[in-house]
């Protein structure tokens, strides 16, 4: 048997096996990867230990929602390090993380995975990758603006706005729950405000500069971190 036919035979899969073995994902070329991506993420708050990941999977095991994610936290960390920017930023993983910090506490290398997820959420919004109809990202954005303008979060208006933007049917579905809360004085449609809201908005806008993200890729601190 010549070389070619051995190859062909071992890859001549019947249909059942094909289903299992077939590579479904698109293959990426090295040139398509964004290597600066990992440094950007590593430079954000608490991201510096990203380089130390040993791919043990403890994070995925500790995560209570990992089985719903398209990439588990372990995979996400590796994909960040390889530079799979688009895949990571459009994944469901980022927006399914509920910030329970189980991974962060369990990680044997001390990587603050929850904070890495936060950095990814921010990048996903900044780069306009976030799923436009996903309530989780819409909620974060609405919450952000509400507090920016009023200083406080008002649960009632926040939820109504979110459902109107994403899935008005949910608003209808949750009406009974809302009513139950309302008669018990636990929710209202009033917008809460602080007294000094103008000063607060000014304060928040004064830190507009996003220098934490705009990291110098070759900073000595980063080189040191990647040596760990």
């Amino acid at each position: 048997m010549d070389k070619k036919s051995v190859f062909a035979e071992s890859f001549a899969l019947d249909n059942a096996a094909k289903d299992i073995v077939e590579i479904r994902r698109r293959i990426k070329y090295e040139s398509e990867l964004d290597k600066s991506f990992r440094d950007k993420i590593a430079k954000s708050a608490h991201g510096e230990k990203l380089y130390g990941c040993i791919q043990c999977g403890t994070c995925s095991a500790a995560c209570p929602v990992s089985h719903y994610m398209d990439y588990t936290p372990r995979k996400i960390i590796q994909m960040v390090r390889e530079g799979f920017k688009e895949e990571v930023l459009t994944s469901s993983t980022v927006w399914l993380c509920a910030s329970c910090y189980a991974c962060t506490v369990e990680c044997p290398k001390g990587i603050k995975i929850t904070d890495v997820m936060y950095a990814l959420k921010r990048e996903s919004i900044l780069g306009n990758y976030y799923p436009k109809k996903s309530p989780a990202s819409i909620l974060a954005n609405n919450f952000f603006n509400q507090v920016l303008n009023n200083g406080r979060n008002s649960e009632g208006p926040l939820l109504v706005k979110m459902y109107l933007k994403t899935n008005p049917f949910m608003l209808f579905k949750n009406m009974a729950l809302g009513f139950k809360l309302w008669i018990r004085g636990r929710i209202s449609l009033k917008t809460e405000r602080i007294k000094d809201k103008k000063a607060l908005k000014k304060l928040l806008q004064s830190v507009e500069d996003k220098s934490i993200y705009k990291a110098e890729v070759n900073s000595p601190a980063l080189k040191e971190a990647s040596a760990v």
Binding site: P64, V105, Y118, P135, N153, E155, R186, I194, S206, I212
Partner: protein, 300 residues
């Protein structure tokens, strides 16, 4: 010692009963407090997801405000009952401590608006205050209606002990259990103490969130708990208000009383149920009242 009370947004709305019961228990135990003036939202999980620096400045403003309000006091102890607020304030303090450059930026920004961030305040959870400042013995002395025969499943939630554990073990916290033992209850030893309840996902991606709450309720029932006590407004909301949705989805019966730990403590201290916001619960905690009066539980 006097404490500065930082309620946070949810204790003024869905968690109103948490505020009512907490302050009633504070009064009953003679704990002095003052509400933080013109406090703002801590930023919760959403701010960090949009803008990191703004998230830190938002939390730092509250700390600076507290330091200003208590400038004549020896110590500034901020009591933050909501887990998210508590964790965010701690996180901000620790991050700024470890990152002098960011500290400088945020201090300067606060100075602009007339505030001085001294990083001196201590961030405290009410459980921490009860256990470490008041003490179990002192609390045990004040119990007038012991919780005899009540099996309590203490549920701490995520952010009370994670990622920072300032007063308890991260994997198997016991402080809330100690409180209820002091109040005469039987505590349930279970593994769900710090399991995620689904948090804000109940509002956004319910398919993912409901199973999480279901696991906790189911396990509490399996361990024959009479009541689940929580220390976070989102946990209480998810575990109590979604019970009918959960039962419909999983075709089970998860009916169990889920109340704030301060409500149960308040009842043991002999406080009026109405003062503790019991009337704001979706269902009157029948089981609890029955057992307290020496009867048998209605639903098991």
């Amino acid at each position: 010692m006097k404490y500065i009370y930082y309620p946070g947004c949810s204790l003024k709305s869905t968690g109103k009963l948490y505020e009512e019961s907490l302050l009633a228990v504070f009064d009953a135990l003679g704990i002095e407090y003052e509400e933080l003036k013109d406090w703002n939202c801590c930023g919760a999980t959403a701010y960090m997801a949009v803008d990191e620096k703004k998230a830190f400045v938002l939390a730092a403003r509250n700390i600076a405000l507290a330091e200003q309000q208590f400038k004549d006091e020896e110590e500034v102890n901020i009591v933050a009952p909501c887990s998210a607020c508590y964790m965010i304030l701690l996180k901000t303090q620790k991050f700024l401590e470890d990152n002098p450059e960011d500290m400088a930026v945020i201090k300067a920004a606060l100075k602009e608006s007339g505030l001085d961030y001294k990083a001196k305040a201590k961030i405290r959870h009410p459980i921490d205050v009860f256990i470490n400042d008041i003490g179990e013995q002192e609390i045990a002395k004040r119990i007038t209606k012991p919780l005899k025969g009540i099996r309590v499943a203490s549920y701490y939630g995520c952010q009370t002990v994670r990622p920072y554990s300032t007063f308890d073990d991260q994997r198997n916290p016991v402080t809330m259990d100690k409180l209820f033992k002091a109040a005469g209850a039987e505590v349930v030893d279970w593994t769900m103490k710090t399991r995620c309840c689904g948090a804000s996902l109940t509002g956004t991606i319910q398919e993912v969130a409901l199973p999480l709450s279901y696991i906790i309720l189911h396990e509490a029932k399996k361990r024959r708990a009479d009541v689940v006590t929580t220390a976070c407004s989102l946990c209480q909301f998810n575990l109590e208000c979604y019970q009918t949705n959960i039962d419909k989805k999983f075709k089970t019966d998860t009916k169990i009383d889920v109340i704030y730990f301060t409500q149960l403590l308040g009842l043991a201290l002999g406080l009026e149920p109405k003062k503790l916001g019991i009337n704001r619960l979706f269902a009157k905690p029948e089981n609890l009242f029955r057992i307290m009066e020496g009867g048998k539980p209605v639903y098991v």
